[in-house]
Amino acid sequence: MKAYFSNIVEPKIPIVNATLYNPLLDKKVSIDFIIDTGFAGEIIIPLDIYMKLNLHLFEGVKKAGKFITGMTIKLRVSRAILDLNGIRIPCNVYTYLGVFRSLLGRKLLEKMEMIYSPKQNKIDLKVDL
């Protein structure tokens, strides 16, 4: 796991790199997640990564993703396992057509300690299960 600020867009965005496995642990992808405190769930990823991990074979019932503007979309949801520094956390993974960034949301962040100091360009994440 590596946490850092990326300058690919302005203002800079907090990123954590982690490995996502499917529930069978036979497929994995290393992903740069944007740390997003506006997202209440665990993880959202683009559909191509979701398919690469065969997550469509381990799904639950769809959930309604609600934007703060009130607009809703029907999210696919599957179980998966996130590896953060060797600590494996079972979690829900969401996707939708057109998603082009991977986000790590509050439901996972509440299991972590985070030092967020953009002015010092410093970000530190520790998993605390």
């Binding site: 074979l57 639950g60 179980r79």
Partner: protein
């Protein structure tokens, strides 16, 4: 552009709401319909759209079976794990691991792996702000 097009079966209440908001934003209904149509088209222009459609069809078939059988399964097998694919119940398993192994082996287009007894009603997840507005 500017041609008159009549559209049947528009939801009257939805239309009323859009009309009210359009008026507040000093926009025409036509500009809002164009925006909605562009958004609809942009989603379908996604390179993954064919995959999405394939999973969607299978999801609908599997979901129908889930809703039909779930009450009965909850009475008999609460706490166990259910796998549904190809519009059939593939099996009831004691552990999540066993269920995903079977789903991985026997399913191809789509599968549900559900802990029996969990709610299957649609729940909400807060997403924050849509990217297009940022």
């Amino acid at each position: 552009m500017g041609k008159l097009i009549a559209v049947k079966n528009i939801d009257r209440d939805l239309y009323k709401r859009i009309k009210a908001i359009a008026s507040l934003e000093e926009r025409t209904i036509g500009s809002i319909v164009n925006e909605a149509l562009r958004l609809w088209l942009s989603l379908r222009a996604d390179r993954m759209y064919d995959y999405w459609l394939g999973i969607e069809d299978a999801y609908k078939d599997d979901y129908r079976v889930l809703v039909e059988k779930y009450g009965e399964l909850c009475e008999k097998y609460e706490g166990k794990y259910l796998v549904i694919c190809n519009a059939k119940v593939i099996g009831i398993f004691d552990s999540f691991r066993e269920a995903v192994l079977n789903a991985g082996k026997k399913c191809f287009r789509h599968a549900f792996v559900i802990k029996i007894g969990e709610r299957i009603e649609e729940e909400e997840v807060e997403l924050g702000f849509p990217v297009e507005f940022i």
